[in-house]
């Protein structure tokens, strides 16, 4: 079988058994990245030379018998993670020339694990979007149909994994930015518990919601990556000091007795009927594996999108105040005075959606509106989090669709922000409550992949990965590769 069709777990095992070298693997994937650059636009930066240097170092470690679980495995970073000495653009003109002065903690950890970074993936500008169309570097295309979006904001990572340009890629999820593109591209996307993966060196969007995670071909691959990425970081004040288990070693437990909550609000009028059918078929697999399904209701969940579009823009307007044209980032030419410098540098450096969110956030935090919008939203957020807590008294995890529909056409939703925002209607709840969640491929609707979402209680990554892995041992949706990429 062609190497690129193997999972990351299989590749890592092959490297350790010296069946092939990291240099060979790296050359293979770099050639695939170059071959698909024009059709998919999944990468902003490709690091040919440093990748081969890391691969040679990994091969030396493997030859000396010092290889770890991920030594020599190629992968990519979403271009939101700071990489020392390398451009980090966050998909924005604002950071077009920005060279990271340091490594994000996730970047340092994956380097220490001996992995080989092949480049930085394309994304919605500052991770604000659900289609990867707002990038300054042009839209990413869905490998299953290049007229369609891959989802977003981690669309470059999802498209790259779907087309097997890399076996895995890092990603971030503020309102669904890992799970939604994973669903639309037919790959596995894991958003860990808030605080599980360090946010240090991850360009901030909405700090109480942002969480780093991974997109890979399988739950087992995601488990291997998460084990290397997770952990306490004194440099992130919201990082949680809880031991990191070997997530991959904990896979394979039987599902007998697992109590699965079927969230009534996930099966609303907006859910495409065929999409719903795929979800019910996937749930039947879980019943066959010994799980019990139980209907649950999260009555405040329908308010999660409006809650998010107060909280996230508020935090965004505050976080993005740092782009002032003074210390780093884009500066306008010939500013008349300091105000002119601020206003034109930001007006030119930010794209349309980023400006929309900065202004929404500025408005909801402004004098006279704070209580009506921001404080109200933080109270509703509390109610939504409580709905989840109540549900987890009765069930071990929740399941439902990741998205209301499969991938849509490039350009179809750009004129109407609210329609675009509603793509994340099933994913935002987990961010508001800080919960771990995963999307796994569970079939097709008109030749386009559909994602099943599993949501667990805080720090239940192991349980949702185990349930996802059990499904992937019964099905082969996660093994399918788009025709244009095979």
């Amino acid at each position: 079988m062609s190497l690129y069709k193997q999972t990351l777990a299989e590749l890592a095992a092959g490297l350790r058994a010296r069946k092939f070298s990291s240099v060979e693997l790296t050359q293979l994937y770099l050639a695939r990245i170059d071959a698909h650059a024009g059709t998919l636009n999944a990468f902003i930066t490709v690091t040919h030379e440093s990748a081969l240097a890391s691969a040679r170092a990994a091969d030396a470690s493997l030859a000396a018998g010092r290889g770890g679980a991920l030594t020599g495995v190629p992968f990519a970073h979403k271009d939101i993670f700071c990489t020392a000495g390398l451009r980090t653009t966050c998909g924005s003109r604002m950071l077009d020339q920005f060279v990271s002065p340091y490594d994000a903690t996730v970047v340092a950890k994956l380097k220490d694990a001996g992995t080989v970074m092949l480049g930085k993936t394309n994304m919605d500008e500052f991770a604000m979007g659900s289609s990867s169309e707002t990038s300054y570097y042009g839209p990413v295309k869905n490998p299953w149909n290049t007229k369609l979006v891959p989802g977003g904001s981690s669309g470059g990572s999802a498209a790259a994994v779907a087309a097997r340009l890399v076996p895995a890629a890092t990603a971030t999820d503020t309102g669904g930015s890992i799970r939604q593109p994973a669903a639309l591209c037919g790959v596995t996307g894991l958003k860990p518990t808030y605080g599980r993966v360090s946010r240090y060196g991850m360009v901030a969007f909405a700090s109480s919601l942002d969480q780093g995670g991974v997109i890979a071909a399988s739950a087992e691959d995601a488990a291997l990556m998460l084990t290397a990425m997770a952990g306490f970081d004194p440099r992130d004040s919201t990082s949680v000091d809880t031991a990191v288990p070997d997530y991959a070693a904990l896979l394979g437990k039987p599902l007998a007795g697992l109590r699965v909550g079927i969230v009534k609000e996930f099966f609303d009028a907006g859910l495409d009927a065929q999409n719903a059918r795929r979800i019910h078929e996937a749930l039947a697999v879980y019943t066959k594996l010994g799980a019990t399904l139980k209907d649950v209701s999260l009555p405040n969940l329908p308010l999660s999108v409006p809650t998010y579009y107060v909280v996230a823009p508020a935090e965004c307007s505050s976080n993005l105040a740092r782009y002032d044209g003074v210390r780093f980032g884009h500066r306008c030419s010939a500013p008349r005075d300091l105000q002119d410098l601020y206003r034109r540098s930001r007006g030119e450096g930010f794209g349309a959606e980023v400006k929309r969110r900065v202004m929404t956030g500025t408005y909801v935090l402004s004098a006279g509106y704070y209580d009506a919008y921001y404080l109200k939203a933080q109270k509703v957020r509390q109610l939504i989090a409580k709905d989840f807590r109540d549900a987890f008294v009765e069930v071990d995890m929740l399941m439902g669709p990741t998205t209301p529909t499969p991938a849509f056409a490039i350009g179809a939703k750009m004129a109407d922000p609210i329609t675009m925002y509603l793509n994340d209607i099933y994913t935002i709840g987990a961010n508001l409550a800080g919960l771990p969640a995963i999307s796994i491929p569970c079939g097709f609707v008109t030749d386009l992949p559909v994602g099943l979402q599993l949501v667990g209680p805080h720090f239940a990554e192991s349980a949702i990965l185990n349930a996802a892995h059990a499904y992937q041992r019964e099905t082969d949706w996660h093994r399918l590769i788009p025709q244009g990429s095979a």
């Binding site: 004040s237 308010l303 929309r356 202004m359 109270k379 609210i418």
Partner: protein
């Protein structure tokens, strides 16, 4: 809620964003639509609810001892600055 042109100009000023003539009506429409959309939150009864401050219940922001732990790396950081001189960031004259 329909935001006026003046309201958009005032928000843009607060946010330090220069908008051109074609952008203003676009944001008038979309910000008005967003505020209508988030207005749905009024439906929720929240009288006795404590606003959420942290996604993990019971956890609060960690504190650390007030000691210097980072090295001085201003030269490295200033390589990304548009204009510096003698270790300082340069901006247009503020006081005439």
């Amino acid at each position: 809620m329909a935001l006026t042109r003046a309201a958009i100009e005032s928000i843009a000023k607060l946010a330090r964003l220069e908008l051109n003539e074609t952008e203003i009506p676009v944001y008038q429409d979309s910000l008005s639509a967003i505020l209508d959309f988030v207005g749905e939150l009024d439906r929720a009864a929240t009288n006795d609810v404590t606003p959420m401050a942290h996604p993990l219940a019971g956890l609060s922001q960690r504190l650390r001892a007030d000691i210097v732990t980072e090295e001085d790396a201003h030269e490295r950081y200033q390589q990304n600055a548009p204009q510096v001189a003698a270790g300082l960031y340069l901006v247009p004259k503020v006081i005439e």
